[in-house]
Symmetry: C3
Subunit: 165 residues, 3 copies
């Protein structure tokens, strides 16, 4: 299968996912804890809802600032990939990839300087990771928009849900 | 069951909900009407989608302004709880709590002054209410972000959906 | 059936949809292509997720700017209708209206000048189109909010999903 002229892998098991993420220097361990009175993953009927994920790694807050100001587009791409990796870490911990039918949709938010317009480019950091790591099950729709501010001054945040088998 | 180190009640009937909301000085009557060509609650297959709710009470628009400017964080917490109470009033009127499997996910939007960063604290006004009032069925994931502007200058707004039995 | 004091048609077939859109001078052809590593429509279980749609027509980017500044409220209403027509064009191409149980919820984003507060009025451009063209199956909930910026300086964007039969 091909998406946007790239080959898409069709298999997905946890070992493949770990290997694929390692190529990004990203890991499934230590998903961030919720920053309030909510849960990171909520399974209702056949959908797993994932709370907003930020570029947090081992409890460190990374990529804080505004895109086009202190955060470059290239860094934003990595920040979005890190959000996506945290999504997968939550799925790994609370759902299990063997139960996943596929990613549904991702909302990708960013905060940026005036005049900066590379939202699609940084959002691809998450979209590419989902498709490269999950294969056909990572195919998704998305919405992207620049918000006034994200909590803790994060440059990027991602919310999504997965359909379950 | 416990979430974020708090006990979570497991039962949910309409009388309990009314009693719990009364403790907040909130009520299930008079859910706000839609402000456009849409409906407040849309049931499709086994999900009830709830339109964005604002801190409106008996048709009065409350908590208008920007957090960190004319609206304090403490007031924002109450404003978010009032949005959540309106969500429940819509569910009570158009769905019935006996048909609810549980809350899925809440998107919580706020408009705030530059430098204000208490989004998680005010969002807990809604999250706490959902869990305190609905028990296990109120557990949810959430996304929060600061928007440029909400309609009618409301400081907070909430959109969510519920899975049905 | 009536919604907001307007009659709502109850039938929906592709010919009716084409005729209804023609009355808007809108068409089902040429849905915009995705602007990144995602798909325009993603069907998982019994929901079709539609990627964010903008006022794009035959690959031309229209209605770029801020509402209340270079884009009037009247133009914003048309821009939102164009986004909604593109949603329908995606459904026509990738789902088929005969498989649609109904529209679930629409998130409607806009970028506007300081002090402009006609979000509900422009969002009705999309809501009216959905209901006028799809009838009962176009009834939906919605959320609207003003974002800091939309990609490519679009004034309006819409994300939604449909339940399938």
């Amino acid at each position: 299968m091909r998406i946007n002229n790239k080959d898409v892998i069709l298999s997905m098991d946890t070992n493949n996912i770990i290997t694929s993420l390692a190529a990004y220097d990203l890991h499934l361990q230590h998903p961030p804890k919720p920053g309030g009175s909510y849960v990171s993953v909520n399974i209702r009927n056949n959908i797993a809802y994932i709370a907003i994920q930020f570029p947090i790694r081992n409890d460190d807050y990374l990529y804080q600032g505004r895109l086009g100001d202190t955060i470059t587009t290239e860094a934003g791409y990595v920040a979005a990939a890190m959000c996506a990796a945290n999504v997968l870490a939550q799925v790994h911990k609370y759902v299990g990839f063997d139960k996943v039918a596929g990613l549904n949709h991702a909302d990708i938010y960013y905060q940026a300087a005036d005049g900066w317009d590379d939202g699609p480019a940084i959002a691809n950091g998450a979209s590419d990771l989902f498709v490269n790591v999950l294969g056909e099950k990572g195919i998704h729709t998305r919405a992207i928009f620049g918000v006034d501010k994200l909590p803790r001054n994060f440059s990027v945040g991602i919310t999504c849900s997965f359909s379950l088998l």
